[in-house]
């Protein structure tokens, strides 16, 4: 149950956010799991299911953070959004959140106000089809996973 150790050279973190019991809401966690297997400890990967305010502490000390989460915007299922925060306009309302925690957008804004934002924050949003109870991704979302992973790989390689 111990947290993964952060090495002195690890300045990049990939964060997958979601709930794997809610079908496509698990896509962020699924991508994080795939990256963890791919990089085998070479980068810090966080699978985050809980309160979003904790993210401000989780990314403390990291220069670059790449976040993956499901979105619900009305686009076709599997559509991939990429945002460079805060440079790009960030439509926080499309990122799913509950009434029991702060949204990702609120946490990013809070981090910015408190000077706790990493130098580079990249956010991938993958349009989900189903958010009901279930432990599988829909086929359209599953199909997008490889492309997201490839794009993240390029983000990781660029300047790391």
């Amino acid at each position: 149950m111990a947290k993964k150790e952060i090495t002195a050279k690890t300045k990049l973190m990939v964060i997958g956010i979601g709930n794997e019991s809610r079908a496509d809401d698990g896509v962020g966690l699924y991508i994080a799991e795939r990256l963890e297997q791919r990089y085998r400890g070479g980068i810090k990967v966080l699978k985050h299911r809980g309160g979003t305010t904790n993210l401000i502490h989780e990314w403390e000390g990291f220069d670059k953070v790449i976040i993956c989460d499901a979105v619900h915007s009305g686009q076709r299922a599997g559509f991939i959004y990429r945002f460079d925060y805060p440079k790009d306009e960030f439509p926080e309302e499309i990122f799913r959140f509950s009434t029991h925690t702060f949204s990702l957008g609120q946490v990013l804004e809070l981090a910015k106000l408190l000077n706790h934002l990493p130098k580079e924050v990249i956010i991938y949003g993958i349009e989900g089809k189903f958010f009901t109870v279930g432990d599988r991704l829909s086929p359209e979302v599953q199909e997008s996973v490889s492309e997201v992973i490839e794009r993240i790989r390029k983000d990781i390689d660029r300047g790391h």
């Binding site: 299911r49 305010t53 904790n54 009434t99 029991h100 106000l113 408190l114």
Partner: protein, 433 residues
């Protein structure tokens, strides 16, 4: 919202900065307050029903899903109830670990509420985000306090949300001395920061709103009541947990999926930090009692708006107790006491951050659950909140709607309502005609 000359209907369709979903309707006709309805519209949660047929050892993990902010209240409430029916007592270092993980829950829940949900009301901000622009240090400290509370849950429970390491009888694994001592420096920082939080909270402005509540909390002969005790009130209740159902009555109202609770033969009950503080004041460490007096709080506080101060005092208490437990920790020989099922009914009640959380289960000789009853503190407080709103609104009906709405929301947040778990269900009858 609409306002007419002599009649007003104020609807707050979605209450902000509370856990879950709720709404408030206020009706004023001919300058008289006609109706106040606090509406809970979380979907009915069928926990009490689907626990039937499950194994008694599953109750802690299943009921923990009722609440992501206060899972320990359910994990331990269910565990104590099952240990009660099985005739088992958890004591010594295992009991100390239970106190410690509960301290963690109080810290993270209270810190979130104090600094992110309630402080904006007192300082005139719509949200913690807005507040952070002008008061970054308050928000920073609040988040740090919450983080250290979460760390306790992580080290002892395996993770912050729905900890996985607790079971009937104790734990699956207990931390080593080294593991637990990694918490110490952060806890000491938290204790110092909590002292400053108490003093900060005392500088807030509070409405003059004192009422003759029946305050109900657990009282223990040796400690500030958290995980065990007798149900105690300032108006005469002094009963073992097994007599909880004799102390209260519950009714169903049309506008809410949560049952309404009254003290039997009397009025509403007030659960939570202010109740605990009044009933257990003498069990606080001397330095905390002195600090309470320094900031103008002593036993006998009946102003629910000052609950924010009392939550700060409880955060301090929790950090202080956590430091003592960690400094004196001896690793238990076994992570849990063996628990063999036996037929009967068991009772458990602990002090969730919001007040007494009650569990009752009936199991058979094989440990299969036949019946379950779970009462969350927000469920009990709901009627009291509505009464507060009546009393608050009546003398202020001439206020502009926006000002009235603001203060009503602030009044509701005095109770830190956890609406997502305030729906323990009545008997369900399906009429197929």
């Amino acid at each position: 919202m609409s306002a007419k000359n002599k009649s007003k209907t104020i609807k707050v369709n979605y209450l902000a900065r509370v856990e879950g979903e709720g709404a408030l309707d206020i009706k004023i006709r001919s300058n008289k307050l006609q109706d106040v309805k606090l509406k809970i519209f979380e979907p009915p949660r069928f926990f009490e029903a689907f626990l039937r047929g499950r194994d008694f050892r599953e109750a802690p993990d299943i009921t923990a899903r009722i609440c992501g902010i206060c899972p320990i209240a359910y994990l331990l409430g269910a565990s104590y109830a099952m240990e009660d029916v099985c005739g088992v007592k958890v004591s010594g270092p295992l009991r100390a670990l239970r106190r410690l993980i509960y301290d963690g829950e109080w810290i993270e829940s209270h810190a979130l509420h104090i600094f992110m949900l309630h402080a904006p009301d007192f300082l005139g901000y719509q949200s913690a985000i807005e507040m952070a622009k002008d008061h970054p240090q308050i928000v920073q400290n609040g988040l740090k306090l919450k983080k250290y509370g979460n760390r306790i849950l992580e080290v002892l429970g395996g993770r912050e949300i729905h900890p996985v390491n607790l079971r009937v009888g104790g734990f699956y694994r207990v931390p080593s001395k080294h593991e637990i001592k990694t918490l110490l420096d952060d806890l000491k920082w938290g204790r110092e920061a909590a002292v400053e939080a108490v003093r900060w909270s005392a500088r807030l402005t509070f409405p003059d709103f004192n009422e003759d509540y029946e305050l109900v909390a657990l009282r223990h002969p040796d400690e500030y009541g958290i995980i065990e005790g007798r149900i105690t009130s300032n108006k005469g209740i002094d009963a073992p947990i097994s007599k909880y159902d004799d102390c209260f009555t519950e009714t169903h109202v049309a506008h809410s999926t949560a049952l309404r609770t009254h003290v039997k033969g009397r009025d509403t009950a007030f659960l939570g930090p202010m109740a605990r503080f009044n009933i257990n004041f003498d069990k606080l460490p001397v330095f905390i009692r002195d600090l309470a007096k320094e900031v103008g709080l002593a036993k006998g506080c009946f102003n629910p708006f000052k609950s924010i101060m009392i939550r700060c005092l409880e955060v301090l208490f929790a950090f202080d107790e956590a430091v003592h437990i960690v400094e004196n920790y001896e690793m238990p020989d076994q992570p849990a006491v063996e628990v063999k099922p036996r037929a009967g009914t068991g009772y458990g009640a602990t002090e969730a951050p919001r007040g007494i959380c009650y569990h009752r289960y009936t199991i058979d000789e094989e440990g299969t659950i036949f019946d379950a009853k779970i009462v969350s503190p927000t469920c009990v407080n709901q009627t009291t909140i509505e009464k507060d709103l009546w009393r608050f609104i009546e003398p202020h009906m001439d206020w502009p709607v926006e000002k009235l709405q603001w203060h009503c929301e602030q009044a509701i947040r005095n109770y830190d309502p956890c609406i997502s778990c305030s729906t323990h269900f009545l008997k369900l009858k399906v009429d197929r005609g």
